[in-house]
Structure formats: structure tokens, C-alpha cells
């Protein structure tokens, strides 16, 4: 029953796993829930949830799962331990986690429960014994249920009532899934960084100082060096309009995440429609054109190029030339190859996903650029592609 609760949380993409389960089992064994559903709600919440964005999910699942249920702390703890000791489960665990579970002997936990129960019965003085408070029996409520936690209507009296708290869903404003997505994108992008020492020499170079001092026959010779600064420069090229319209929101999220990334030295964003020919544009409305040749001249090969687009177009749009302007005779694919050739590291992010179905231009472009799906996973792969050292294969 309780394990279902964990799985329901997982289904809602709340990251709970064995470590959280172990912690909860230990907390229950220590009587931290103070024999009340309220206590259980707060203890479970502080151990299972690690970010305010998941608090609302927790409230929803908790209310749905435990309404009217009869809970027994001992059963929850033993259920958790049984589940954790499942050999299939054990194989997925790291050594450290496995050790922490093995250290928690099920028999021992149950014995402790019993012991405490007995102790409490013997000296039921309503005093300051650390299991119960104010004379409540250890695993019951108001002395009615000596070994259970009563849940549901009338359950958990006192200050608030866990169900009431859960039902109130006051953490809803923190969940904003959009923000969460931008954040996730930001986190993925944050891995894309590098540092270099440039600029004023403000930092003491200890190794250098020791070397220089030794060279100088022990006369102190201070060597300084510039501090480490972020050194990643990124060019973001985005396809807009036409077949990209359904992805407008996703694109704006990628854009804002990239804009908010403070760990880059420079971010340039440009737009194009369908395919890059000769020019890209500084605005979404195709104003302020920038010639690709100029862009290549301005930006060294160390810039990381990220192109976002669905890569789906009519074959002539890729293989043909637009026929106007001074670069009119060069087909789109040639421009793409020029970009690919110029930059050491480049990727293509496709919101359509990768490898779903064959499409002539998608396949052709995937032959030019390493192509990744515009999902969190794909983004992660793309970032590792971008930071992989050395020249591409």
C-alpha cells in the first residue's frame, strides 16, 4: 500500500527512490511521526520531497492515496523494508545504498517497534517519553488505537490535520510546469561550459611562485595569473515559421533558458526560415540580416553552434538555391556544410525527434550535423557532443 504511494509519486515524475524509502523507514522506526497522521505527513514530506516544485504533487498523491485509509506505522516500515530487500531491487542499488539497507535489519526494526509499544504501555504516564507526546499512545491517537494511526475523517486532530493540509494544495503556485521546463533546459545547458584564464593577473599562482622562488635562490618571487573565467561562446540558430509553428512555445523556452545562462561568455542568437541560405536574421521577424559569410568571419571555429529546427522541408529547398541575392546560386545544403565545416563543434536539435520516420531532408541534414531530439535527454546528449574535446570524428 505504501509502496504504491511511492510508485504513484514516481509516475508523476517526482524523483523518489530507495534512498528516500530507507530514510523514511528509519524515521518511522525512530518514532519521528509522533504517532499521528499529521506527523507522518510532515515526516514523509520532508524526506521524500527535495524541491518545492514537487510539494504540490506530494499533496495530491497523499490526499488521493491515504484518504480514509487505515495506516499502521509498523506495517509501513516493514512494507518498505520488504520492498527494499527484494533481490531484483537490490541489484539496482549502489554499494553504499545496499549497505545502508543491510544495516537496517527488518527484524531489528520490528523488534524496536514492539519494544517501544511495550515500554509505552508499561509507563503510560503521558510524560516526556520521546515516542509519544502528551499521553498519546505510541502508534495510536488519543489512546483509542494502541497500534494504529487512524486516518481519514476525524483522523489526526490537533493543529491542522494532514488531510486538510494536503487538500489545501498551497504549494500549487510553486509547481508551474513551464518554469520547471525552462529550468530543466537551463540545467542541461549549464553543463556546456569551459573556463580559461584571461585578463588581469589578480590571482596568486602558487605553483608558479614556488618555482620562481626556487629559481631565485629562495628570494621570494610572487607570480600572479588571471582568474578563471567562463570561456564558452555559443551561437544559437533557430528555425521559425511554417512547420515550426507548433513548437513555438518549446522554442521560446529554449530561447529563454539560453538567454538566462550566465555561464557563457557570449551568446548570439539568429533566426532563419526552413534552411540557411546566405543570411540569417537577428530578429524573429526576419529583420537585421547578417550574412553567413560575415558571421563565419566574425566567429572563430571555437564557437559552439546549436541549430534548432525540424529539418523537414521540400527537397528543393535544401538542395536548390533560392536564386536571388548575391549568394543566390549556392544551395541550402552547401551553407549548412559550410557552417559544419567552420565550427569545431556543432549540433542540430530537432523538436520532431530523431529517427521516427524517414524524411529525405531530415536524413540529409542528419548526415551533415549530429542530430538530437529536442527533449531533455536529447539536449543532454547534444551538450556532451558539444563539450567533447578535440576535433570531431
Amino acid at each position: 500500500m505504501f509502496v504504491d504511494f511511492l510508485y504513484e509519486l514516481r509516475r508523476r515524475r517526482v524523483p523518489v527512490g530507495t534512498q528516500e524509502a530507507v530514510a523514511l523507514a528509519r524515521a518511522l522506526a525512530a518514532g519521528l511521526h509522533e504517532s499521528s497522521l499529521d506527523g507522518f505527513y510532515f515526516v514523509a514530506r520532508s524526506l521524500l520531497i527535495h524541491s518545492e516544485t514537487y510539494l504540490d504533487d506530494f499533496d495530491v498523491v497523499f490526499a488521493a492515496h491515504f484518504r480514509g485509509a487505515q495506516l499502521e506505522a509498523k506495517n509501513i516500515a516493514s512494507e518498505l523494508l520488504e520492498w527494499l530487500k527484494n533481490p531484483v531491487k537490490m541489484r539496482e542499488l549502489s554499494d553504499e545504498e545496499r549497505a545502508s539497507i543491510e544495516a537496517l535489519d527488518l527484524e531489528e526494526v520490528l523488534r524496536r517497534f514492539e519494544e517501544r509499544l511495550k515500554e509505552q504501555k508499561e509507563r503510560h504516564d503521558g510524560g516526556n517519553h520521546w515516542i509519544g507526546t502528551g499521553g498519546t499512545s505510541p502508534f495510536g491517537r488519543g489512546g483509542e488505537h494502541p497500534q494504529g494511526i487512524q486516518v481519514g475523517p476525524g483522523g489526526g486532530g490537533g493543529k491542522g490535520g494532514a488531510m486538510k493540509t494536503a487538500d489545501a494544495r498551497k504549494y500549487r503556485p510553486y509547481r508551474s510546469d513551464v518554469v520547471l521546463d525552462i529550468r530543466q533546459i537551463e540545467i542541461a545547458l549549464r553543463k556546456l561550459r569551459a573556463f580559461a584564464r584571461e585578463g588581469a593577473e589578480q590571482e596568486l599562482d602558487i605553483e608558479g611562485t614556488i618555482d620562481a622562488t626556487a629559481q631565485n635562490a629562495g628570494e621570494l618571487e610572487i607570480v600572479t595569473r588571471p582568474p578563471r573565467r567562463p570561456n564558452t561562446r555559443v551561437i544559437l540558430l533557430m528555425d521559425v515559421g511554417g512547420s515550426m509553428d507548433p513548437y513555438a512555445q518549446l522554442m521560446s523556452q529554449v530561447f529563454s533558458a539560453a538567454k538566462r545562462a550566465t555561464h557563457w561568455r557570449e551568446l548570439r542568437t539568429y533566426y532563419f526560415h526552413n534552411c540557411v541560405y546566405g543570411r540569417v536574421f537577428k530578429t524573429e521577424g526576419f529583420q537585421d540580416p547578417v550574412k553567413v559569410n560575415e558571421l563565419l568571419a566574425e566567429c572563430g571555429k571555437h564557437y559552439k553552434l546549436v541549430i534548432v529546427g525540424d529539418a523537414a522541408m521540400a527537397p528543393y529547398e535544401l538542395l536548390g538555391a533560392p536564386g536571388y541575392g548575391e549568394e543566390g546560386k549556392v544551395p541550402g545544403v552547401a551553407w549548412l556544410m559550410a557552417l559544419r565545416e567552420h565550427f569545431e563543434r556543432s549540433v542540430w536539435l530537432n523538436p520532431d525527434g530523431v529517427g521516427g520516420y524517414a524524411h529525405p531532408t531530415v536524413d540529409a541534414i542528419a548526415g551533415v550535423f549530429p542530430m538530437f531530439a529536442l527533449t531533455l535527454e536529447g539536449l543532454g546528449q547534444a551538450v556532451s557532443e558539444l563539450i567533447r574535446g578535440g576535433r570531431r570524428a
Partner: protein, 282 residues
């Protein structure tokens, strides 16, 4: 798991059941307590309150953007040693003894302390993204080795670790999993009244009513860049008291608004609304 003293707040720091549960989980499971919440809701004060309640010393580690995990463990003062070796003015320090030039950081001090102490890692999100990850091992094992000397620093008494975060950066999952998490809710008016009572016990009922009403009205304004929080309210009331103001009217200019609002634009927004004679809520 041995018995431990439960945390119930102090007479200067009010808690609720949810905060107590989180603190007690952290105490019992010996895991770091991660406290998040709006700035000014008393995250740092919580550590002091726990210290007061348990009668333990508090060691604060204020994290900055340049802080490295290593700084918390120890710093090897190479420059001082070089200087001493060159100029010979040692103040009795033996240049040959490297240990004299190793200074323990806050985490190192917390481990070495003979009694159980509280280690407050304040505003952990200010540091580099990798900072929390670099501390995982030390926080788990509560021991580390000084590479220069080979000495191992092992916790005499496992310190209680309180970590605060203002959510400027997402913290790494591996780090989060090891922490007990608590999100400090913004107090509701009733709770806020109790908090004000704790800080300004001598205040008259009318002034409390009026300041609280003004405060929650101002907070309800969605156009504010930085909404005032508990600490600003406490400060504001302190200023009003010092100035001998006994009455605050919502419909005219609020005195000492600068104590509540810290951003120029926010002052303009509120002043606009007051001048326009409109009711507050936008």
C-alpha cells in the same frame, strides 16, 4: 539511533509542526537539513534557533560565488609560509612545520570541535554549480584528509548541518537526496501576528493591526519586483517605533516605506497607487 532532544522552537523563534518534523528528522537521521524559502523568512535564524534550543555552538559558513568546497575544509596558507621563510619574522611559527600553516575552514572546525556543533552552510546556491557535489563525501562521512600532511580530520561529534538556499541555482540531485528538505512557507496573517509579537512584545494592538494590514496589502501587489517579507516587516515596525509613530494609515503616504521596499521601482509603484487614491490591489 540514539535518543535526541526534540526541537520545538524557542521563545524567539516560532515554528510550526511541519518545520519541527523536518528539523527532528534531520537530527534523528543525522542528515543535513536543507531549508529553502523566500528571502527574509528566517532561514538563517532557524539555524540559530536550533543552536539555542540544543545549547550548541554555531559555526557559520557564508558561501559566496567564489567559495570552493576546499575552503570549507582547510586552507594551506602558502603565502604566509613563503613570507616567513623569506623574512624570518615568524612570531614563533616554525617554518619547517607545515601544520602551522594549515587553517581549518568552517567544516573542518565543526568536525574538530570537541562538542556537537551546528554547521550552518548559508546560501549554498551562491557558489558554483559543482560546489555541493564536491562536499558530498565530506558531509556523508564527516571526515577528510589534509593532503599536505596526510592527517585525517574525523568528526569528534557528528555536527548538525543546516544548509540554506535562495533558489538561485538548482542543486544537484545527488546532493538533494542526502538532505532532509524543508520549504519555509510565507506566514499567514495570524502566524505573522505571533511573529511580530515575539519581536515587538510591547506594541499596541492598533499599530500591529495597521502595519499588518498595510504589509499584506503591499505584498499582494503583483507588480512588485521584490516583495517584502518577514524580516522587512520586523524592521519597519522597529523604525516606526523608534520614530514614535503610533498610527499608520493606508490611504495616505506610508512612513518609512524604504524599510519595506528595497527597490526604487517598487517604491514608485506603491507611491503611484497611494497618490492615485485607488485601493491598493492591482
Amino acid at each position: 539511533m540514539s535518543e535526541f532532544r526534540r526541537f520545538r522552537g524557542t521563545d524567539r523563534y516560532l515554528t510550526n509542526e511541519s518545520l519541527e518534523a523536518a528539523v527532528n528528522c534531520a537530527l534523528a537521521l543525522e542528515r543535513p537539513l536543507l531549508v529553502k524559502g523566500e528571502p527574509g523568512t528566517g532561514k538563517t535564524l532557524l539555524a540559530e534557533a536550533i543552536a539555542a534550543a540544543l545549547g550548541a555552538e554555531i559555526i557559520a559558513w557564508n558561501v559566496k560565488s567564489t567559495t570552493r568546497a576546499q575552503d570549507g575544509l582547510y586552507v594551506y596558507d602558502t603565502v604566509q609560509r613563503l613570507y616567513d621563510s623569506r623574512f624570518g619574522d615568524h612570531d614563533g611559527r616554525d617554518v619547517g612545520d607545515i601544520r602551522r600553516y594549515i587553517k581549518l575552514g568552517p567544516l573542518g572546525q565543526a568536525l574538530k570541535a570537541p562538542h556537537r556543533v551546528i554547521l550552518l552552510i548559508d546560501e549554498v546556491d551562491k557558489a558554483d554549480l559543482e560546489f555541493p557535489n564536491d562536499l558530498l563525501h565530506e558531509l556523508d562521512r564527516m571526515r577528510f584528509r589534509i593532503t599536505e600532511t596526510g592527517d585525517e580530520i574525523v568528526a569528534v561529534e557528528r555536527p548538525i548541518v543546516i544548509i540554506t538556499s535562495n533558489n538561485e541555482k538548482e542543486l544537484p540531485d545527488a546532493f538533494l537526496r542526502r538532505c532532509v528538505f524543508h520549504f519555509i512557507d510565507f506566514p499567514d496573517p495570524a502566524f505573522m501576528r505571533r511573529i511580530v509579537g515575539v519581536h515587538h512584545p510591547d506594541l499596541t494592538g492598533t499599530l500591529v493591526d495597521q502595519t499588518l494590514r498595510a504589509f499584506f496589502e503591499i505584498r499582494a501587489n503583483t507588480r512588485l519586483r521584490k516583495r517584502p517579507s518577514t524580516s522587512e516587516l520586523i524592521d519597519w515596525i522597529a523604525v516606526l517605533k523608534r520614530a514614535g509613530i503610533a498610527e499608520v494609515k493606508l490611504d495616505k503616504e506610508l512612513p518609512f516605506l524604504g524599510a519595506l521596499l528595497k527597490k526604487e521601482q517598487d517604491l514608485v509603484v506603491i507611491a503611484d497607487q497611494l497618490a492615485g487614491g485607488k485601493k491598493f490591489r492591482s
